[in-house]
Amino acid sequence: MDGGYGNNYNPYGSQTGGGFMPGETNSPSGGKGGGGDNKTIRPVTVKQINDATCPYPEAPFQVDGADVSSVMFVAQVRNISKQSTNITYKVDDSTGDVEVKKWVDSATADSMDVDDPNGIHTKGYVRVYGSIKSFGNKRYVGAHSIRPVTDINEFLCSMLEATASHLFFTRGPPGGAAGGAAGGAGGDAAMVDYGGPPAHNKALQTMSPFARDIYNLLRTEPQDDTGLHLQVVANKLGLPPTDVARAGEELLNAGVIFSTLDEQTWAILDY
């Protein structure tokens, strides 16, 4: 999405098809909000899976306020129960327990009565890749893959990965312009406030520091209805115009700013 386009800055490039016109409030890119890249695999703890929220039926589950499609974690197997269509593992990672279902591919599963087809056994540790599902009121993880873990370091590191990911989504990237990132000694800091509409804050957290700087400048700098030109932004921030263009594209794609007079004049999209 921020592929190399060098100096030929063109927000109406091939992939956006149509761009973002003033007054066109229902732009397809405007609705995405939370960064859009929810195809990633999130490292989580089981407690986060059990605490995940589902804003409305059929909606993707949310962890730390961000959509999550795939999760991974390491946990200890408490119970294995084989059914005709799936194997259900009850797993526990010390933060809670959850059921993991691995659907049996009838084409490849020739013998169902092999004790542990993948070397998975009760009390053993496993790494699970899957997605959070719910059936009735019961939450479970539909596993894409489940394999045994024998190295304790891998298991312990998975806990740290989950922590790092949690902090990223609640406090923003490490060392970035996100205020309280370095601070907070105890407990979870509140969401970093960029002063804009709440939906913007979430989108901004996953963006580059340049993009956040531009957003803050557009928010605080005195300006008329038409916003600020790329060149003005570049001068104020002391950044090369190419970087500003790139970061501007990020903001445009997330729908937090829009272009006004021309493609290189931007204002914050307040809604």
Binding site: V46, S94, T95, G96, I152, L156, T163
Partner: protein, 119 residues
């Protein structure tokens, strides 16, 4: 609610003592078996000292192995120990970087919300 068993180091035992102001008294701890005496055993937790365990008849520990203990914090003769509920054998202690475990314990208590419900 499912059972939550925060990971700790020996110096945290008193925080999860039944008299302490904590919702959970069941904890996990990682250490190397350093003494076996009938119904009690000792594990050594890196450079953080020893913890005395009260064993159940059906848990078998082996000297020199790295084990993960799940248990309840309990009073024992001369201090605080752990009444064992379950053990997991992790084999040779040399295969584990105990520093990672220390970091996990640190993260567990610093970023509580994704690990356990406090008080």
């Amino acid at each position: 609610m499912s059972l939550q068993t925060p990971r700790i180091l020996p110096q945290h035992l008193s925080n999860f003592h039944p008299n302490a102001n904590s919702r959970t008294h069941t904890v996990r701890i990682l250490g190397t078996v350093s003494a076996l005496q009938g119904e009690t055993a000792k594990i050594t937790c890196g450079t953080h000292g020893d913890v005395t365990l009260i064993l159940t008849p059906d848990e078998h520990l082996q000297m020199g192995k790295l084990v993960e203990i799940v248990g309840k914090v309990a009073d024992i003769e001369g201090g605080v120990g752990i009444r064992v509920l379950g053990t997991t054998d992790w084999g040779n202690p040399a295969d584990c970087d105990y520093k990672i475990y220390e970091q996990v314990v640190e993260a567990t208590h610093r970023v509580k919300s994704i690990f356990y419900d406090a008080e």
